[in-house]
Symmetry: D3
Subunit: 334 residues, 6 copies
Amino acid sequence: MPHARVATFGEIMLRLSPPGHQRFRQAHDFRVEYGGGESNVAVSLANFGLDVRFVTRLPANDIGDCALYALRGAGIDTSHVVRGGKRLGIYFLEKGAVQRGSKVVYDREDSGMATLRPGQIDWDRAFDGVTWFHWTGITPALSQSAADACREACREASARGITISVDLNHREKLWQYGKSPREVMPELIEYCDLIVGGAREAASYFDIQGEDFADVARQLQQRFPKARRIATTLRETLSASHNTYSGLLWDGEELHAAPVYQLTHIVDRVGGGDSFMGGLIYGLITWPEEPATALRFATAASALKHTIIGDVNLVTVEEVVNLMEGDASGRVSR
Amino acid sequence: MPHARVATFGEIMLRLSPPGHQRFRQAHDFRVEYGGGESNVAVSLANFGLDVRFVTRLPANDIGDCALYALRGAGIDTSHVVRGGKRLGIYFLEKGAVQRGSKVVYDREDSGMATLRPGQIDWDRAFDGVTWFHWTGITPALSQSAADACREACREASARGITISVDLNHREKLWQYGKSPREVMPELIEYCDLIVGGAREAASYFDIQGEDFADVARQLQQRFPKARRIATTLRETLSASHNTYSGLLWDGEELHAAPVYQLTHIVDRVGGGDSFMGGLIYGLITWPEEPATALRFATAASALKHTIIGDVNLVTVEEVVNLMEGDASGRVSR
Amino acid sequence: MPHARVATFGEIMLRLSPPGHQRFRQAHDFRVEYGGGESNVAVSLANFGLDVRFVTRLPANDIGDCALYALRGAGIDTSHVVRGGKRLGIYFLEKGAVQRGSKVVYDREDSGMATLRPGQIDWDRAFDGVTWFHWTGITPALSQSAADACREACREASARGITISVDLNHREKLWQYGKSPREVMPELIEYCDLIVGGAREAASYFDIQGEDFADVARQLQQRFPKARRIATTLRETLSASHNTYSGLLWDGEELHAAPVYQLTHIVDRVGGGDSFMGGLIYGLITWPEEPATALRFATAASALKHTIIGDVNLVTVEEVVNLMEGDASGRVSR
Amino acid sequence: MPHARVATFGEIMLRLSPPGHQRFRQAHDFRVEYGGGESNVAVSLANFGLDVRFVTRLPANDIGDCALYALRGAGIDTSHVVRGGKRLGIYFLEKGAVQRGSKVVYDREDSGMATLRPGQIDWDRAFDGVTWFHWTGITPALSQSAADACREACREASARGITISVDLNHREKLWQYGKSPREVMPELIEYCDLIVGGAREAASYFDIQGEDFADVARQLQQRFPKARRIATTLRETLSASHNTYSGLLWDGEELHAAPVYQLTHIVDRVGGGDSFMGGLIYGLITWPEEPATALRFATAASALKHTIIGDVNLVTVEEVVNLMEGDASGRVSR
Amino acid sequence: MPHARVATFGEIMLRLSPPGHQRFRQAHDFRVEYGGGESNVAVSLANFGLDVRFVTRLPANDIGDCALYALRGAGIDTSHVVRGGKRLGIYFLEKGAVQRGSKVVYDREDSGMATLRPGQIDWDRAFDGVTWFHWTGITPALSQSAADACREACREASARGITISVDLNHREKLWQYGKSPREVMPELIEYCDLIVGGAREAASYFDIQGEDFADVARQLQQRFPKARRIATTLRETLSASHNTYSGLLWDGEELHAAPVYQLTHIVDRVGGGDSFMGGLIYGLITWPEEPATALRFATAASALKHTIIGDVNLVTVEEVVNLMEGDASGRVSR
Amino acid sequence: MPHARVATFGEIMLRLSPPGHQRFRQAHDFRVEYGGGESNVAVSLANFGLDVRFVTRLPANDIGDCALYALRGAGIDTSHVVRGGKRLGIYFLEKGAVQRGSKVVYDREDSGMATLRPGQIDWDRAFDGVTWFHWTGITPALSQSAADACREACREASARGITISVDLNHREKLWQYGKSPREVMPELIEYCDLIVGGAREAASYFDIQGEDFADVARQLQQRFPKARRIATTLRETLSASHNTYSGLLWDGEELHAAPVYQLTHIVDRVGGGDSFMGGLIYGLITWPEEPATALRFATAASALKHTIIGDVNLVTVEEVVNLMEGDASGRVSR
């Protein structure tokens, strides 16, 4: 197991979803889970055996406690979670099938994390012994104060020489507080050693257009020279039930491509990108000079995620390596 | 939203189905739903925003009440439902998979609707303001008295100049009361402006054989000149889990064909025809002079139905139009 | 219905599985079933209308009672089940999807059946009127005493002129008691009239290598001349959700091949081999001189099993014959 | 275990009930069980270790099969069940609480059993080796033909010297076929050795009024001199959740009274009377000359029934004897 | 059925509760229901057969739609619901037992109703034909704009001569917008003909202290002379599982007391007060000059509510009258 | 929050229980939980905010992992859990009601903990910073090696000056390895500062008979002079649904008695003693010189446990103190 301590920082939400393929209006029960981009990455890393902590702000009520128990049960260090704010953000998820897409309804305004302000996290303690810091484009999209807190985190991490990764993760329905991503993101991305994101984010955040991912990645790297590696996932959505899935990584010199997985019977595609991110961080920590290996690990991990209900990727290194080495047959293991 | 008031008339049943793919004998719980050809059409239309009422006869007991609550919850006007008869009809549904077909066991004899007699519905009130009336071949198959009541309904609708549609919907196991469809159906079909049905029904009901649907439709129109449009669904059952699906419409001059949908992971195919019918009625009300558009709307609506558990099609106009305009990718809508 | 009485002999276990595609750690409920290779065959035969009894040893506690009720409910004669031993064996099953394989965790040591000793079954009574005896390679793999009891059973059956079938069914994780299959199995197989097994078992048990199944089967028959027929299943695991499936039978002169089924949406593949075995026994009893027919019945039965949750194949002769005669469309039966 | 073979005869129905305390209209699932007065008695006797068969007529469809599997799973001999008729009777049960009583909606007309006719049961086979025959007042209330078949059964049993018991079990909502109980029941009761019923039935069936149960029992015995013992249950319904419960037995000379049980947290009271009847039959077979002991066994058995969901009493002799001997503490048994 | 049309006005929320007695942190599913003080009253009235409409503001998203479907399914006229605002208010409910009380966590800020402003409801249409208007102390506690809208509603109702009722319903955790109830409530109460509330509300809202309820009611009436009748519920909480329950009504001259119900096995006590209010409105409409009868109806209705899961009281007039006339035995109704 | 670090040591098992009040044979699903005497105490202490670790040996398989995740999710330090052994112990729990007692079937032989040997735990690390060590009489009852490991733990704790508590917890069905408790327990108890146990254990383990608990406690203290405090629970089992509950504590000078709680609607009584133990440890750490306060805290904590499903007591200090200070009303907390 590699030697590292990772901190991820962001919002965890209550996820409420009708069972099976029920539409919202058919549901008399909602399945209850807790997830968010950055905590999902933390769960992946804990399952891969890394020492990982999650930093966030949770309301001091029973629902906030539930999120905390979920994180602890996944083996994540929660001792740097601060409590406060009015509520836990919620998202409602209706799972589609075939021609009917899945549907997400967000109800996350005014959450503890959205109202986090700089100074509320004790970064000296939160970054103690930390070697890798991960954040995503969701946090600065929540509110001005969350964007400010995110900047503080990046600065503090950078000052300590911590490796920084970001998942650009653009969500148009966020960014409601009067700033555009182009005003906020560039300054934050300058701190990052690893960027995950595609043409869509490059265009929205930095007005970078490219012919293909290699072109976009090259431009990104020119603009953000600290970013040694730039990666993206490739998903083709044939239907809500069947996608193809792969990933690309630009290491400054070469473009690496992962195999393409046929996800023919998707169980849950939410958290797919986070599982790629988690796999990539694990991969780059484990094989720091083998980005192609890390990419293949990330893509295999993410393929497996699509077979697991919930936001988080509950797989072991052994399971990912088994798939990465080519056994995609899904045989019974007895 | 188009200006119209639709009345549908027929039987609603209690549907009892084992969860998931369980066989009947494995079930310790039955999922409870309420559905029937004509009420399923009404639910589609209510979801599309139309003013719709359902006319039937329900037993005056708690189980009849349950069916009533289900209809109301779907936004259907139930003020013309009459109460009486001994029982609510029941059907048991076992959902198949791959090579194992689904199985339906009917227990619908002596229901309130099967024992309905002419004169029990106050058609003056039930047809007040109504512009479209829909019935199916199931009602005259239930009993002599139900066939008589159906004839009364058609006559009353016709007298008021209401547009009449019928889904021929042949079920061999019905028609147990001593009459054959050929003795009963022709008189009823003469009232209809829109016929949905295929070669099978044309042969069983009217002894019409044809080379293809266009041929059958032409012959039907010759025999029933009021029927301005004749449509059918096209389903290829590759397995219980994977069908292809499309539709055809003959408008008296031209044969229109809808795109073919690959229904690769069917959630529930019961009510597929009803969802086509509902889509077609909505389509012809909305685009009265664009039958090809109406057909494409109907087929897209019906494709979506196959992703929804239960008899009824819980989709909005916006969702159907989105698919009809070509987005079959099933992407997550956030 | 053919005239025969079948006895099967082996271990039945408590099967505990998370609902749907949940991983073990996500499960807050386990679905409860009872199954095992030989009792699964008995259930198939009972469903096909045969007179069948299951012989085993169950602990004299409530959990042993539950297994007994499950067998009775399937229509199996349990009057030759003896009670004793400390516990019912358990297996935990996690159902995979696509690239993630299913996972089985066994907890079956020291079960009533594993601690069965020769002399504990009254074979005079248990074999009364019996015409066919079935056992599998699992029983002699459990313990020395179970292997001894298995030898006793074969000897007793043979002495009464009962037809004997075996499913070689190799499980590497068993055979923990200090003997290898090569020391134990040959003597037992000499009693058998019908062998089901493939190249893997032939190699592990008898050190027989072959170019293809026909070659292996010929060698097996040379070594075990009583074995008139030798059959195997053919499964290609494209993914955990999609397999292809067929079967072969060598009748001493000719190699028969069944059609290949596309199992595109597998519901539960555990018990697939047992359902083939059950179909083959039924087939050979019903069409004793038509091994190709029996093979086709067995393969069709087993294809249907993959659509049914649980270890056992809950299908009727009529349903199997329907598929065997070519209707793989999975149409709704109303 | 006493030496005896019991046959019970009557209707088994599909029982559908909302989970927990839900009202019908709240239910999206119905719990599925199979029960009826006479089959409930059979289940009790099978659990007490007696050899018991149930005689009825079930429709030849999947739902009829389900009832058959349920009976078999309880260890009842079903080889004398005949198949025929259109449907399995159904009853819907809504479980009350405190001031809200439970509610039963019957949908049992035209069931296989209600349309049974004399001659359809082969009583020579069905009564082979039988020493005790049990029926209830429900069967003759179903239809003229069921009443006729019941008379045939009593006559055949009587001709073979079989002990006959009856549970009078008056249900006012039945008896819809044009006869009153007073026209039908007396002739049938003349065959009976044991009558269970109270003042209500004595009045409705035989126009017998009495000061108390002893008085009623004495009059019943005068009128039906074959009835050696007459028993009744005593239930005080404090609320739907709390009843008191006891029993009385008149043995021709003496009135025996059981202890009064406080049923303070009722789980399911349906089948309470049947569990008393089952206990009494077992008791009188086991202790034929100790009617007071039999009565105490019956009452204790029935008290336990109220803690078990479903129609049937799933308790062992050991459990009943433990309560009957005074341990009502409900301690944990480890 | 009395001739009347009732409008209730307020907030409906999504209610999420762990199944059974689970604590929040044990829940992997939440039961989904929709309820709120004023809509709960509307449901009661619809069940009693009254013509009732509910006026509120729901967000224009899928979760708002779900609340709308729930209301429609209960038979309430929703044509005066306006759509807008960001979110549907939520409350989380953990059901206690014995010494552990139930727990409510509110997450209702910024709901569509809390951000309703005067002028958004078209009262001309909403009050068309309305004879009774009901509101509660919750609405003015939500926000300044909701309090303003509530004042507008009262003024509009009053101007049309509509009878007005209020449930004072004090919730300390609300009133967060900078006003105290004493500043807001008196002006609103002046419009009311019927007040339901107790000593706690009289003190909090109006600084009225009294020796007993009669004293408080007299003082309230002096201060608010339009209030012809003043009622309250009386609940003694022996434990979370067992309460006693009754009601009092002061009619300006006399104090009427209802019987005391022993609620020994409470299923769900949320909505208890709303069911009393619904019963009282129905009672006073039906028996306008028999306030004691109305009170007894209200109290019996509310006793029954405690046996029903969810916020709303799903009982009929017949069921209430049956209890009100003294049958509290909870017998099975067959 | 008091300053302390507690280690508990023992076996955690998989608990499988039918839902609600179902009997084992009715269950098609088992509720899955993880519990055991010593880990239950650890969960209580974690909920009370203490720093607590659990020391055990878990099999290195998926089921062992599940137990680990459950412990982590409860906030327990699991870094001293060792992995090994064949299996996780299991217990099956059937929940009784009223006169029917709950039933436990153990299947715990050969578990990882039962096969633990001295030397397998690194007590230097496991006791690092630990101030309180807790074990129970179950561990030495499992096997000779577990008893030896328990002796080792006590000796190591004692050598480090750690306070030691024991719950005597006699289970007759254990102690199958050839030693009696009287041979094993006295030596272990000599290390203990706090003993929880009653007359039954005093008799079985030490042959101490007493007139009452005070007498027994005095004798225990004479024999084990290190035991400064001796406590016991008092439970009267009126029925499976209703117990009374209290506790006593002898502090060497005085006998303290807690109030008696009426547990009128028990949800789950398993783990009741463990919740008392957890409360007592917390109480004595918090109020070291107020044993009467600690006893009242322990008894109130344990009363609350009976309202919570599962082995463990999910309550906070605030909730316990609230009850301990006299509010047993179970009011709704909003």
